[in-house]
């Protein structure tokens, strides 16, 4: 279709290569560099000179070696075999690379993104004569127990099916159907399709998000929930819990598909996911987490240009799953490394630097990326169907300073801000998410859902909890100035209740088998019990019970154990126990 262009290398600077004789080469087309044919992408065209970012190490490449412009944009392969896989930033499967080059990743490995030999059981759901257009499903493959892969007509094709195979076992290269357009062109529909990573996949229209993405994490679900199709950022200094939070979301959020992008972070963290996910169960379906997860790992020491591409590879896959009508969650850890990759490439191009050395287009790239999230009405000629992509991006601000450009430009776009703080992390208050600084803009559209599905009083409990945390904050300031002596007994009760809320509710241990996931129902009961006890403490105090005596009661030992309690019934009976406490259980001091 598109013709190849052959040029010659004239300059090499790290991942950036320039070649002349490239007249006719297009921006974002893939180029093969040097005698080794390293993979790169054209990122600038000026006359007959093309600037290419190379996805592999350029050591040993010389000026004068050839460059071939392939005429094809950088794309991903989308079809059965994609689920449970782990790819590098340009969708090369890491297990296959390992088979070729061993434990260390070598250059110039060529492996298809999807297994071309494997036969899948295709269930054909369309027939000859059907008039179809982009997004219509012609077949399904039960790819994993948790994932029904829908084989769709690619977005840009429409017409009438003039040939179709029977249901059966085929490889993904099998021509499943032939579609004839009105102008008579025939399109072969294979088991997979390709899509250029830098172009958002089309949909019919955007829809408002009105359902929460439940995460099983109390601080998120109760206080700062994200909607399905929403976008959230989780910035924080090193070691505060970005990765643990992203892993928790990947494990427990109630999306049907998870795309996890390890972008410029640690190798061991990806290994951790690879070792854990095949053994962990999805709390919603009970099936193995790996069966709904696909991963991209372009770790910090892997080529920086491929890191730049990795988030696009990830989001394109996420959109493809969305187009099948699924709720997809995509995690990117960390978007700062992606931004830094852009900065590094831009520096090599000697572009005019903007703030902190980032290119001037940083803000628009970040915005465009998060814009690819959302809840939409998907392409489809028959009925109204929806799908969503929720995006949760980690941000790693230098020195933990949120005023830096990546954090700021991200906050301008996202609707949920989960602020990790060093202070809480050092107190080992995990998740170290600031309950005072964080926010969500989705609560108003979600609260009815909470009311309907979880509990009537959720909004009320939540509001009370916020108020208590604020009061606590004000009182703590007084303590810091004049010492705890200055507080009245009523204020001490408030502090005590706030302590329970912080320690026994907000703190959630990601590594505890029970506490790691907390259902919204359980969240409601835990909150209810804390406030029941708070009210009871005030009542007892008014009846003349001394605070210290009160605190000796064993009920106070039961509150911290709630989070480790798997049975909600036990939390209900604890509530009764709290209600039953009366001044008669205590010695009364009469004044």
């Amino acid at each position: 279709m598109s013709s190849q262009i052959e040029g010659t290398i004239i300059r090499i600077s790290g991942p950036v290569v320039q070649a002349k004789g490239m007249l006719g080469a297009r921006l974002y087309d893939v180029a093969r560099i040097g005698n080794l044919g390293l993979i790169g992408e054209i990122i600038q065209v000026d006359g007959d000179i093309a600037t290419i970012q190379c996805y592999e190490i350029t050591d040993g490449i010389k000026p004068g070696e050839p460059v071939i412009g392939t005429g094809e944009p950088l794309s991903v392969m989308l079809g059965p075999g994609i689920m449970s896989q782990i790819y590098d930033g340009i969708q090369r499967p890491l297990p296959a690379i390992k088979d070729v080059t061993g434990a260390f990743i070598n250059r110039g490995v060529e492996t298809p993104a999807l297994d071309l030999k494997k036969e899948w059981e295709f269930e054909i759901v369309a027939k000859v004569g059907d008039v179809v257009s982009g997004g219509d499903v012609i077949a399904t493959v039960q790819e994993t127990p948790a994932f029904l892969h829908k084989i769709m007509i690619p977005p840009n094709i429409s017409g009438k099916i003039i040939e179709i195979v029977e249901s059966g076992k085929y490889t993904i290269e099998k021509v499943l159907a032939v579609v004839e357009s009105e102008d008579g062109t025939r399109h072969e529909i294979l088991g997979y399709q390709r899509w250029p990573v830098r172009i958002p996949r089309p949909f019919k229209r955007r829809l408002a998000s009105d359902e929460p993405l439940i995460t099983g994490q109390r601080i998120f679900d109760t206080f700062f929930p994200i909607a399905k199709g929403g976008v959230a950022a989780i910035p924080g200094p090193f070691g505060t819990g970005k990765t643990v939070s992203q892993h928790q979301l990947a494990k427990y959020c109630n999306a049907q598909v998870v795309v996890y992008v390890g972008c410029g972070e640690r190798g061991n963290e990806m290994t951790n996911v690879l070792e854990e996910f095949p053994h962990l169960d999805d709390p919603t379906t009970g099936l193995k987490l790996m069966a709904r997860t696909t991963m991209i790992a372009n770790t910090s020491n892997m080529p920086v240009a491929a890191r730049e591409a990795s988030v696009y590879t990830g989001i394109t896959m996420a959109e493809y799953f969305r187009d099948q009508g699924y709720d997809v969650a995509m995690m990117a850890d960390s978007t700062s490394r992606w931004a830094e990759a852009m900065r590094e490439i831009s520096g090599r191009l000697e572009e005019m630097p903007g703030e902190a050395g980032y290119p001037a287009y940083l803000a628009s790239k970040i915005a465009a990326y998060y814009e690819r999230g959302g809840r939409v009405e998907i392409l489809n000629s028959k009925e109204e169907k929806t799908g969503s992509v929720s995006i949760i991006g980690a941000v790693s601000p230098p020195g933990g300073d949120f005023s830096e450009p990546v954090t700021q430009n991200t906050l301008r776009i996202v609707k949920v801000f989960w602020a990790l703080t060093k202070k809480l992390a050092e107190q080992r208050h995990f998740p170290a998410i600031s309950y005072l600084e964080s926010y969500t803009l989705y609560w108003d559209v979600l609260k009815d859902y909470y009311k309907k599905h979880f509990s009537d009083d959720f909004d009320k409990l939540r509001t009370r909890a916020f108020r208590l945390l604020q009061e606590d904050n004000d009182l703590q300031e007084i303590v810091q100035l004049v010492g705890p002596d200055a507080l009245s007994p009523a204020e001490r009760i408030t502090l005590e209740a706030a302590r329970m809320l912080k320690e026994d509710y907000l703190q959630q241990n990601a590594f505890h088998p029970v506490d790691s996931y907390c259902s919204p129902e359980k969240q409601a009961w835990m909150l209810r019990n804390i406030f029941a006890l708070y009210d009871k403490m005030r009542e007892l105090f008014d009846a003349g019970v001394d605070l210290k005596d009160m605190m000796e009661n064993e009920i106070f030992d039961k509150i911290p154990r709630m989070k480790y309690e798997p049975e909600i019934e036990k939390l209900k009976s604890l509530n009764e126990e709290i209600q039953k406490l009366s001044p008669t259980n205590f010695e009364i001091i009469t004044i």
């Binding site: 004239i10 300059r11 090499i12 600077s13 190490i57 050591d59 040993g60 010389k62 000026p63 004068g64 782990i86 890491l94 297990p95 690379i97 390992k98 080059t101 061993g102 434990a103 260390f104 990743i105 070598n106 200094p237 090193f238 070691g239 390890g262 410029g264 640690r266 190798g267 061991n268 990806m270 290994t271 951790n272 690879l274 770790t299 910090s300 020491n301 892997m302 920086v304 830094e340 900065r343 590094e344 520096g347 902190a356 050395g357 790693s396 230098p398 020195g399 933990g400 300073d401 050092e426 107190q427 080992r428 303590v479 810091q480 100035l481 004049v482 010492g483 705890p484 002596d485 590594f511």
Partner: protein, 478 residues
């Protein structure tokens, strides 16, 4: 191929700038990116350099030994058609090399078993094995609260004048895995440290008889700064060989990473790159990761690489780009604290800003002891509370404290004096460390109430006053 060498010799240095040479290639080409060259001065001295940027006409070369004495007239540059490699061999154990990998101990040349590119290739995440085995360092604060794990990268964050070298040497000397007699080696890379510091390490290794299991690479303060760029890479190339070909458990000590980063900054400045924070190049994170990520374990291989990079934080500033970016890559950090040092505490490790991210999977029944995690969490919380109250006392006076508060104050003091403090030669077993922690917790007379981070069952069994005298607590399965 045979004409390559003549073809690639140039006497056309256009400019000398900082550590860089700009060589006019006169359109002859044939030089590759990353290629190594030999630079010969007017008076016949040979140096080595590497191509940082290349066009048909121009090669930008960084000279490892520095550019002093180089000129545009007499200096000649010969490109040797290879990227930077080092010969590796088991024979390197017990030997001392300069920062470029050349022996400086007067011993014989190394006959290498294999030549390897020092840049190394990234380890495939699917080939990694998640690090899980506990390394006992014999230092209580580390073992109990910041457990070091085989295959981990755990830096020491320090400041000038603090005893980080002592801590590093003590770890190297005492590190062991319980109940295993496997081969252990240390690869030590010095970058820009003083001759005295280097001597300290060397004599410490010698004194303890460890030297024959140590490979030393020394780039000292008065050695060329650019050489520092390659020293850690050479060291890690040797470490990878020892670990993944020869089954050694290798502990790599890299000191001082601050000098390394400063060299990188110098080169960036000479190339007139757009600087990032505090003048460091924007790619500092990526560059450091190609060093730190070379720690780990590989599925099916016996050996491992554990890294202890040491860095001195300029002005003790944790937000300085060097500790900051390091912390973003490594798996935790051990914070050497000036205030503790001033109080005379050795090793002055402050657990509060420190963290070992791989700890949780490497401790507990079977590897250390069942009470480890809970005890660590309790010690940490009690110490944090004690320090907080100490600060409060400084503002509002001790009078406003409750009796309970005073227990915490006392605990913090005892914890510093007895738990954190230990001798430079003192090698505590993990059991002694954990038991010492329990002993300190007896400051709290009502454990079930006051030790909230520890399950009742564990208190039942391990709280000193509850202990069964006939039971063996010094066992990983206790």
């Amino acid at each position: 191929m045979s004409v390559k060498n003549e073809l690639k010799s140039y006497k056309t240095v256009r400019e000398v700038s900082g550590p860089l040479l700009f060589v006019d290639l006169q359109g002859r080409g044939g030089v590759s990116y990353g290629e190594i060259c030999e630079v010969v001065t007017g008076y016949g001295e040979r140096r080595r350099g590497q191509v940082l940027e290349i066009t048909n006409d121009l090669a930008v070369v960084q000279v490892f030994e520095g550019t002093s004495g180089l000129d545009t007239k007499e200096t000649s540059v010969r490109f040797i058609g290879q990227t930077l490699q080092i010969g590796v061999s088991e024979e390197m154990l017990g030997r001392v090399f300069n920062g470029r990998g050349i022996p400086i101990d007067g011993g014989p040349q190394i006959i290498s078993e294999e030549k390897r590119d020092i840049a190394g290739n990234p380890l495939n995440p699917v080939a990694r094995e998640y690090p899980r085995s506990f390394i006992q360092t014999g230092i209580s604060t580390i073992d109990a609260l910041l457990t070091l794990v085989r295959g981990q990268k755990l830096p020491l964050f320090s400041g000038s004048g603090l005893p980080h070298n002592q801590v590093g040497a003590q770890i190297a000397r005492q590190a062991k895995v319980l109940g295993e007699g496997e081969s252990f080696a240390v690869v030590f890379a010095a970058m820009g440290i003083t001759a005295e510091e280097a001597r300290f390490f060397q004599s410490d290794f010698e004194r303890t008889g460890a030297l024959e299991k140590v490979v030393l690479f020394l780039n000292l303060a008065d050695d060329p700064a650019v050489e520092r760029i390659i020293t850690p890479r050479i060291a890690l190339t040797v470490a990878e060989y020892l670990a993944f070909e020869k089954d050694y458990h290798v502990l790599v000590i890299l000191t001082d990473m601050t000098s390394y980063c400063e060299s990188l900054r110098e080169i960036g400045a000479a190339r007139e790159e757009v600087p990032g924070r505090r003048g460091f190049p924007g790619y500092l994170y990526s560059d450091l990761s190609t060093i730190y990520e070379r720690a780990g374990r590989i599925i099916g291989k016996k050996g491992s690489i554990t890294q202890i990079p040491i860095l001195t934080m300029p002005n003790d500033d944790l937000t300085h780009p060097i500790p900051d970016l390091t912390g973003y890559i490594t798996e935790g950090q051990v914070y050497i604290d000036r205030a503790l040092h001033r109080k005379g505490v050795y090793p002055p490790i402050n657990p509060l800003p420190s963290l070992s991210r791989l700890m949780k999977e490497a401790i507990g029944k079977g590897s250390t002891r069942v009470d480890h995690a809970a005890l660590a969490s309790q010690l940490y919380a009690a110490y944090a509370r004690g320090r907080e109250l100490r600060d409060l006392v400084a503002v509002v006076g001790e009078e406003s404290l409750s009796d309970e508060d005073r227990l915490y104050l006392n605990f913090a003091q005892q914890f510093e004096d007895r738990f954190i403090s230990q001798g430079y030669e003192e090698d505590r077993s993990i059991f002694d460390t954990l038991d010492l922690g329990w002993e300190l917790l007896t400051i709290f007379p009502n454990p079930k109430r006051q030790l909230k981070r520890i399950d009742e069952e564990l208190i039942e069994k391990f709280y000193p006053l509850n202990r069964d005298p006939n039971y063996n607590f010094h066992d990983v399965n206790a």
